[in-house]
Symmetry: C3
Subunit: 278 residues, 3 copies
């Protein structure tokens, strides 16, 4: 039986370990938000490196404590890079985070996301429509064959993705984080709902992408579930604090990076959440 | 006979419709300013998605209300992606915005820009040198065979591009926006001069690129001419307001996104402009 | 015999010439920090343009006053683009700046960096581990065959890279800048240590990359050594000033661009430094 205090202690340990050890989490990520991903990873105490080639992906997979793969924009070389890197991560037992951005757009993205089923990402992070679509693509319960993703945006509620998230977590043996107004994190046996954040997070690009990168930073030291929860909690905390000081989406981004940097382990652990057994 | 009141009412309608409907305008755009493009599109109330592959371009062309193609940096895959996407946009009658950044640099960019003549972008946005060079490339009056573009910067005045802008608009049947100290927007029959902005817009990268992206957002709901004017007006308004609060180009960018977000339909419509018959 | 006053006068001249002439320094640089590179170049008074194709690289090499090549992320086309552009720069005697980011990761990066030995970059800028690794790759004294680069981060101290920096400068006939807590700049015969900066520069991405871009801006008008020193000095000055006004890495970036823009030639020249004969 999981209790809140155990979870909080694990969150505290994850945050403090990252601040003390500056772990590297390499990324293969989109060009739109790549700078924000790196800066968010650095703000919480991690180190970042981004690459495009298969042998570079393999290098970072082995050298880093965890790896982040984000599908927001893809290049032709990814046809080689992504399956190769994911296979290395899987075969070496290294944690990795998948963000299936824009699932449903284009043949190569679909092919690559299909291939990832076998390589079992430790954490899958997405909005509700992405999580439902990925479960559908992988033939799991809770998914749908037809994507409701609109470009890169969700048209489904977080709770509508609950079954898909659970099934994805059961398949991978890792965790799934569904981002939305209230965030849902599950390892397939328990669910945590994490509260906070800001409406500005929908009015800037990269809240989700950079959250995925920060999950990877915590996954260098914590379990997939705790990594996903810790990253979500610091995002909800920093988002709420940044909103109080912001006058629009420009100043929100600035304040958000400042608050990511300043958030203490205690504050992150105490960010409101609720536990539900599956 | 066009009058100011009619134009203002159309601007107000464009701004309010975007704020209410959150329309998506997909982009194929350069890596330098891609984040700024997306954040500017979101700040005015639109949604953004960026891609590189031909089938992704086709997907966004059909799924979005309008599409933005910016030539700032180009990849080898663009040889397939751009003509295919532009053809889909043309054949389906979807509005699209072309920003011919860096026209004159490299063989592929020239080839692609030449191909776009046939696919008639709904709005062409550029600085004076780019507009003159594009008219020249397309063999229209007002253009020159020799580009005066210096890298990505203009060496010509806006007024020097007037004839080229008119001829481009007549060719496409859409609108042309020439960005500079005073901005010129024309549909080939009337010209509007839009005032405001800030010298800081020359001291940051992406003022022009992100303006093109915002034109695409308004083109999802308004005519090419009104879309170009509305975007230009909100840029001139937000630029002037941001400058008042900025202490340099870093804080200007932050304030500028905040002001883009806060600008009301009334304020945008009332940003100073003058009408001239061609 | 070099003295401080001579150096200061050359720094003042470099800064003022850039502010007055707005020189263009084109770049082939990574996708992570490309926006920051351009904005930093603009903030000090230069102009920026970024490309990926061989003929575009050649165009900018010839059109710009100097060129910046940064290896942070590389694309397949770079196998053609980088040697071709570097050869044009070498053959036309145009100054260029190399930032060997992520040296040691992947076969193509290694191959390209090996090829650059022949084309002698005017300035090499990197962290200590990168400088040592590049000297090692080029078979020079002070280098090591085994890279201590961790992703994109240094694990060596600046002073440990002194011999490698000197040997690299002797090979190229240009200058080398080693970035760290105290920065080291050498032309192979004298060394300058430049002081200042901020710990926040390690907590944001792109301090080093954008410094390389700013070195290229000054290299359009000053010697490689003075260009490297001037850029390093304005970074140390603006970093220290920005830290005083920042509340975290988000606001630091904003303040840093503002301070880059506001720094006067006198202030930059007077930023603390010490000279040492080799």
């Amino acid at each position: 039986m999981v209790n809140k205090k155990d979870i909080k202690n694990q969150v505290i340990k994850a945050v403090e370990t990252v601040k003390q050890t500056n772990p590297m989490a390499g990324s293969i990520t989109n060009t739109v938000t790549i700078n924000f991903v790196a800066n968010a990873q650095l703000a919480v105490g991690g180190a970042a490196a981004m690459v495009y080639f298969p042998d570079e992906g393999e290098f970072l997979a082995k050298a880093g404590g965890a790896t982040y793969i984000n599908m927001g924009t893809i290049f032709p070389i990814y046809e080689q890079t992504l399956p190769h890197t994911a296979k290395v991560l899987h075969d070496t037992g290294k944690p990795w985070v998948l963000d299936p951005v824009a699932i449903g757009i284009g043949a190569l993205r679909t092919q690559l996301l299909q291939q990832f089923k076998e390589y079992k990402p430790s954490v899958i992070r997405g909005n509700a429509s992405e999580i439902i679509a990925l479960a559908g693509l992988w033939g799991l319960d809770g998914g749908t064959g037809v994507s409701n993703v609109r470009g890169v945006d969700s048209t489904d509620s977080v709770i509508a993705a609950k079954a898909a998230a659970i099934e994805l977590a059961k398949h991978t043996g890792g965790a799934v984080a569904v981002s939305g107004k209230t965030d849902l994190i599950t390892d397939g046996s328990i669910i945590v709902f994490s509260y906070g954040g800001s409406d500005y997070m929908e009015r800037i690009t990269g809240s989700g992408c950079s959250l995925g990168g920060v999950v990877a930073v915590y996954a260098t030291t914590a379990s997939p579930f705790i990594a996903a929860l810790t990253a979500t909690a610091v995002y909800n905390l920093a988002g709420a604090r940044a909103e109080d000081k912001a006058n629009g989406p420009g100043s929100f981004q600035v304040q958000f990076l400042d608050e990511l940097y300043k958030a203490t382990a205690e504050d992150i652990a105490n960010n409101p959440f609720e536990i539900e057994e599956v």
